[in-house]
């Protein structure tokens, strides 16, 4: 069993790349022979997932996560731990893991690479990919971004997945990513788990302004306050601010006042969004749209001229990392809305810094 409870149907260990390929083929053959016509296992792959990890602990977590992702996006998953300082070796553990969905299984290959080959991971990864289906690279944890944005890595992958919320300094991380978007332009298919986390909030803000009474206020926003949990504003908070500013084309100066702050919030994890408060004014009238996290719910209230126009409560989904990535993989690889939000978030966070 994996940590998540998925059943490992077959397993093999191999040393070296050739042995790995043979072991994988043997596992498939054995699986087919062992099952009757009615119960034949199905290998259905729509994507190659490569999870790049800095250490073995992260790799264990990543292996568990990719099995979960593969249940939604059937995949060959490679979890790689590279250590150039270790003695030369290429060791692999290959598993066919039942996803619990129909008769389908995921191929999970955990690779530990030591020595100089760890500098040339693409030469090891490429032969192991299933041809003609996309390659998604997941940078597990908070690896140095300079490696992730090497031109060859960007060219090789159809999608690079990271979590800006995993880095200690969210503002600096977003500013760096904004620069990378400037360098690579449209060729950078970068997907951010933090961006996906903001999705329920973005949807709730969009819905709040969708009613005919509230929509006119969308272009009369004078102030926004976004609050996240923790000691400093999180990547999620900056991204939400950047999204609002970019979608509503607020100018870099002279536009609505945007405040991004953080509080220690009970019931929320560090980095979680806690509240979004939007103030609108026009002539002598005003409107307030408030979204507040209350436990596992997101409560929306809309006031116009101090009268309650509407209130609503929606469940805040408790997506884990695997579910966030799986959702993200359902969307287009290149997300112009994200790159625009990052650009504005980088500007806002730079202005915010002391």
């Amino acid at each position: 069993m994996t940590a998540s409870g998925s059943a490992v149907q077959r397993h093999a260990h191999a040393s070296g790349l050739h042995a790995l390929s043979s072991a994988l083929a043997n596992l498939h053959r054995d699986a087919l022979r062992a099952s009757g016509d009615e119960e034949a296992q199905v290998r259905l792959s729509v994507v190659n997932i490569v999870a790049a990890c800095n250490d073995a602990t992260l790799a264990t977590r990543a292996a568990d996560t990719v099995v979960g992702i593969a249940a939604r996006h059937p995949a060959r998953a490679l979890v790689i731990v590279g250590d150039p300082t270790a003695p030369l070796h290429i060791e692999s553990d290959i598993s066919l893991v039942e996803t619990g969905v129909g008769r389908q299984y995921v191929e999970l290959i955990r690779l530990e690479i030591g020595g100089e080959p760890a500098y040339h991971l693409s030469s090891i990864v490429m032969p192991l990919l299933i041809p003609d289906i996309p390659l998604h690279l997941w940078l597990v944890g908070a690896p140095p971004l300079t490696q992730a944005f090497r031109a060859d890595a960007v060219a090789m992958c159809d999608r690079v997945i990271l979590d800006t919320g995993a880095y200690d300094d969210a503002a600096e991380t977003l500013q760096m990513i904004a620069r990378e978007f400037d360098v690579h332009g449209a060729s950078l298919s970068l997907n951010d788990i933090a961006w996906q986390r903001t999705r329920p909030w973005r949807e709730a803000v969009a819905i709040a302004f969708d009613g005919p009474d509230v929509r006119p206020w969308l272009h009369r926003v004078v102030g926004v306050e976004i609050v996240s949990a923790g000691a400093t504003p999180s990547a999620d908070a900056w991204l939400l601010a950047g999204w609002l500013a970019s979608r509503l084309a607020w100018p870099a100066s002279g536009g609505p006042v945007i405040g991004v702050s953080s509080i220690p919030a009970a019931g929320a994890s560090v980095g979680d969004l806690v509240a979004v408060r939007i103030r609108c004014e026009h002539a002598r009238h005003s409107a307030r749209v408030r979204l507040e996290r209350r436990g596992a719910s997101l409560v929306t209230s809309i006031h116009i001229d101090d009268g309650v126009v509407a209130t609503g409560t929606a469940a805040l989904p408790a997506w884990d990392e695997g579910q966030l990535i799986a959702r993200l993989m359902s969307e287009a690889t290149r997300d112009a809305l994200y790159s625009q939000a990052v650009a504005r978030a980088a500007q806002l966070s730079a202005q915010h810094e002391p």
Partner: protein, 524 residues
């Protein structure tokens, strides 16, 4: 025209799933104490609310003839959502949803019998910002539909404007035959415009049915084969293992042809057979479906018996349980001749399908529950493997090679299977059919929304693509009415009714019917 149309597009929605969020509105359910409301409608609305797909201020007014307080209605609905809903009840979400949940009593016999509904709507407009946007769901017996429509009209509750909408959702049956369907449409049009009427067929809300459209029109490899040149015939099966449950009185009036063929099966046939549409707009999709239905060769009542097989189930064994025959069910006449099984052959007179028949069948108390569409391709014109080692007695005739099959499974286990021939490993040239399976649930773990969720949301959004238009309904009735007329003139022989045992694949006549054309039914 709706409020949402008049406003500029909301820039915040770009790139977000819930771009499909309707304008604030009120759903009024007439027949709120009924089974459909409890099992399907309110659980579907709750699921939409829980997924954040409904606007703030969204309101549901349950209207029933029995007395109930708001609180009683809310408590009952909560229990039902818990019991029948796709999503578990979340206290916070329920609390907000329940704030918009009201119950009123109405009386169609009184001229002012809809006043409580009107007052509740006005209050919702005033306090919850529903802006006179209304969806009125007719979850009432078919005999009450016209009276309710008339009363709504008389009370002014049918009105819409450039900034508000009023749509009515009507459940099948849409008439009992062509004449009554036309009469129903004519009568409804006295009270509502056609674009206000949403005729719901929950089959069309199923993800797997919508996937049929995607399968056909988003895959370049199948469309060139999708015609008489390559397809031998099509089979559409809607098999049910259950009986008529507690619907004896209804079923005695309806039967399998009216209950399933006229609506669900005709819709599936239209989707399988229609020409590619230029876009996914409601009118263009429905235009193509109607064109296909119009191309169906009429069956003269005198030919009804040669083009169809009727059946009625006797007692038998289903899923390891002894089950009664149709005539032993509650509210069924002991000598009833009502059909619980129909098989029929349909010819479509157009360039795409001429000479490629569609075989349709549906039945109660069959072996298993299965809805599927089978496309049987033509056999290879010549087998080059004749005289092979595997066939020492004189080669391998072309018809020894199984034809390719494409099976589109609608329920359960939604998916697609392609059957093709492969060489059995070994020295001999032995050929065997193998199946390549695609399980919808395996490729997409995401839980599919219930059909009613999709359809209710579509209606609130004013998207009628998955609802039946009046001409679709009438064209489907055109075919079915001729069969009903023929059957009426030639009732089944009491001695041969019932003619199939529960837990089988229907009457033996259905197999003979296919054998006459040199074909066999696929086993789902």
């Amino acid at each position: 025209m709706t409020a949402a149309v008049e406003l500029e597009p909301n820039p915040l929605f770009e790139g977000l799933r819930s771009a499909r969020v309707p304008a604030p509105c009120c759903v009024v359910i007439f027949g709120a104490s009924g089974d459909l409301t409890r099992r399907k409608l309110v659980p579907a609305l709750y699921a939409l609310a829980a997924e954040g797909t409904l606007p703030a201020g969204f309101t549901v007014i349950g209207a029933g003839r029995t007395h109930m307080s708001d609180e009683e209605f809310r408590n009952t609905m909560r229990d039902d959502v818990q019991r029948f809903g796709r999503l578990p009840v979340d206290d916070d979400v329920w609390s907000a949803f329940a704030q918009g949940l009201r119950y009123v009593t109405y009386d169609l016999d009184a001229r002012d019998g809809l006043d409580p509904v009107r007052r509740a709507l006005d209050e919702a407009d005033r306090t919850r910002g529903t802006a006179r946007n209304r969806v009125i769901y007719f979850s009432v017996p078919s005999t009450a539909v016209l009276l309710l429509a008339e009363r709504l009209h008389a009370a002014g509750l049918h009105e819409d404007s450039r900034s508000s909408f009023c749509r009515v959702v009507i459940e099948k049956p849409f008439g009992r035959d062509l004449e009554t369907a036309r009469e129903l449409n004519r009568s409804l049009h006295q009270f509502f415009r056609e674009d206000q009427i949403y005729r719901i067929d929950h089959y069309l809300g199923k993800e797997s049915v919508q996937n049929l459209l995607v399968f056909r029109f988003a895959n370049g490899i199948f469309e060139p084969l999708w015609n008489r040149q390559y397809i031998d015939h099509v089979q559409i099966t809607v098999a049910e293992s259950m009986g008529i449950e507690a619907r004896g009185a209804y079923y005695e009036q309806a039967g399998a042809l009216r209950d399933i063929v006229q609506n669900h099966i005709m819709q599936l046939m239209a989707i399988v057979g229609m020409e590619p549409m230029p876009n996914f707009q409601a009118e263009t999709v429905r235009d193509e479906k109607v064109k296909l239905l119009r191309a169906v060769r009429p069956i003269h009542p005198d030919d009804a018996l040669s083009h169809t097989v009727r059946g009625q189930y006797a007692g038998g064994w289903v899923d390891g349980e002894r089950v009664p025959g149709y005539r032993e069910e509650k509210d069924v006449a002991p000598g009833s001749l009502r059909e619980t099984y129909v098989a029929m052959k349909v010819d479509i007179d157009n360039w795409r399908w001429a000479g490629t028949p569609f075989y349709l069948r549906t039945g109660k108390r069959l072996v298993k529950r299965a809805t599927e569409i089978l496309i049987q391709f033509r056999r290879v014109p010549h087998s080059p493997f004749g005289g092979s080692i595997a066939m020492p007695m004189g080669g391998l005739p072309p018809d020894a090679i199984d034809p390719n099959l494409l099976v589109l499974r609608i329920q359960p286990e939604e998916g697609i299977t392609l059957r093709f021939s492969a060489k059995v490993p070994g020295q001999a040239m032995r050929i065997r059919s193998v199946n390549m399976d695609f399980l919808y649930g395996s490729a997409f773990l995401k839980q599919s929304p219930e059909a009613y969720e999709r359809l209710l949301l579509d209606c609130m959004l004013g998207d009628a693509t998955l609802f039946a238009r009046e001409d679709e309904v009438e064209e489907a009735w055109r075919l079915c009415t001729a069969i009903l007329d023929g059957w009426r003139a030639h009732p089944p022989d009491q001695a041969h009714c019932p003619n199939y045992e529960a837990g089988t694949w229907g009457p033996p006549e259905a197999d003979a019917f296919m054998a006459r054309d040199g074909r066999t039914w696929h086993r789902p």
